[in-house]
Homo-oligomer: 205 residues x 4
């Protein structure tokens, strides 16, 4: 090896920069290699193709986040079973959001790529999967709360929209607030808003 792993690192760095600037589709492998100071062939020694380079940057943080979300949601589900789920658990919800934010801000660039720069790659629909996870969760919670509040089952569209909005909140944060501290502060207000909205749905008219 001529440079001791430096080349791969350079390619990853150069790739990250290009992907963030232009998005997956518009990113040019030529540029990436040029900025890394290597020839095109070199890239193909380390990565199978364009998508593989993107995945190398993004795959792990993504899988991690899936796991973090699963963990949070299965835990919260237990609480609903135990008859809770009232105003009291705002703190739990906040805690979960903080965890997610903390993780996302640790890999700020990577989630930027996943959430807003992945068009054209196999990651382009992975927001949908986040929404799906979120949606399943809300469906269960909403059903339990409807029963308890003696109120009709919540509309499917509403469930889907709320799940979507929830995800969009994180995307929006990633796009508008660079510091984790700032994100956490904003999140407090947002959760307050959401809670008020959420419980408003289960009040008898």
């Amino acid at each position: 090896m001529r440079n001791e792993k430096e080349t791969k690192a350079k390619l990853l760095a150069s790739g990250k920069k290009e992907f963030l600037e232009k998005g997956y589709m518009h990113a040019s492998l030529r540029n990436i290699c040029q900025n890394a100071g290597v020839t095109t062939g070199a890239l193909y020694f380390f990565f199978q193709d364009k998508e593989d380079l993107f995945a190398a940057l993004v795959e792990e943080p993504l899988q991690q986040l899936y796991r973090v979300m699963d963990q949070h949601y299965s835990q919260e589900l237990l609480q609903v079973d135990e008859g809770q789920g009232a105003e009291a658990d705002i703190s739990d919800d906040l805690e979960a959001c903080y965890q997610i934010i903390h993780y996302m801000y640790q890999y700020y660039d990577e989630f930027q790529m996943i959430l807003t720069k992945s068009q054209g790659s196999r990651f382009e629909h992975c927001i949908d999967r986040f929404v799906e996870i979120s949606e399943k969760h809300y469906r269960v919670v909403a059903d339990k709360m409807s029963k308890r509040a003696d109120v009709p089952r919540m509309d499917d569209y509403m469930i889907h929209w709320m799940a979507h909005m929830m995800i969009d909140i994180f995307v929006h944060m990633l796009n508008h607030e660079r510091s984790e501290e700032g994100a956490i502060e904003h999140m407090q207000y947002i959760v307050r808003f959401l809670m008020a909205g959420w419980f408003g749905m289960f009040e008898k008219k």
Copy 2:
């Protein structure tokens, strides 16, 4: 060609189809012309370039909607001045949303293009302008309400996020509900949610 205006119309129709299917960037002028039964050169007689064709489809409905929004917001502002802005005006807000929905569903394809298929064109950031308009409005309203409720001024980020979310609601609807009737029905629940959230922000803790 049979008629002078026919070719242009065909190009517009063919362009709309292609843009909707593949998005601005992936749309191929070759395809558009081929499906219109015309050669590439013809397109360049009627339109300056790719973007001009897109604009021809999209510009007018877009400007119209800007106007509709402006009108609604300046009107609502007056009501806040007059000391209203309580639960009573849900109906006003709903009415405004209905108007916007009505207009958007009249030009369903066009707004689909603007909101989700414009990446790569000069329209790709026009959602931001919607957000801007929305944001200015909320800023004013929120300030008045804070004063009246004797509560601290609302956070700038919150204002921006709520404005953004508001716009996303319309985007989401356009993507998930094809009929105007359905959209209006969903909107009722969403506004209820939003109102609860909104007023929740001005309650003393």
Copy 3:
């Protein structure tokens, strides 16, 4: 049009030359275009892709030859039905071979391409189809003759081999004899050889 169909003709000519020299796979579109004095893009105006250019040169003569062969074989089949098929019809067989030769030498380059330069294209196995046609024919003829000569049915492998050899004769000729007259002269001897071999198979041991 700048040059009145000249470009397409030039591309076809240049393509034919390159394909004949290097075979389909090794032929370079860049070379073809350069020798034709045009840019790569020009080629893609006239042809869909590399294979399409090859096909444009080769498809028609190929289909024609399929037809010529079918015609010959269905005609010969009738004679076998009518109780003939003895030494007398050498002249018929020769006549058929002459026709095929005549056609092949009219499109000498094209069949050279099909038969020996098509590897990698969709034409690479079209010799097999020639063999198939030939094989079906021999199967029928051999069965009739076996019956008449009161001799066991001819081995499937032999039938296949003879069909294959028959085709190889034409390929060999195309590769070793440039003039049609020469080809026809050689063919007389070959057919004499084949006939002797063929009838030898039906003699009682």
Copy 4:
């Protein structure tokens, strides 16, 4: 590496597999090395280049077969000198064919490579050398027989074609019959066919 010779053996085995599957030209050294569990560099320690690897697999069996053929042909030549060469020597010819078949089937893969997978390598024309050997032989035999039968000298093209066909028979067999026993059985019929054809050439018209 465990053993000095193991790597080379693995490369040879992996190379054989790849060449048989894809032919010389399409074979990828990357693949070969990968399947051998070695890096590209290793290959270049044992072999000069792609062609050298191919040669290492193929050269020896090829040279051997040249020798076997030479031996047979010089022997048969003596018999013609001694005034034989009539129907009686079918058995000799068969015997020779059997020997060749036996040798070829011992190195089945290798001859497959030489005869049908060598395009692009320096072996791609080695069929021609087989033909040449065969041709020289037939030239001599045919001349003697023409004299004895008081018939004009046989056409050069015919001689060449027959030599070519003779080789093609072996190629065809290698492609269509995997077992040596099967090959030998087919060969009996083919030789009968050829003999009938051959002697047919020396009958007075």
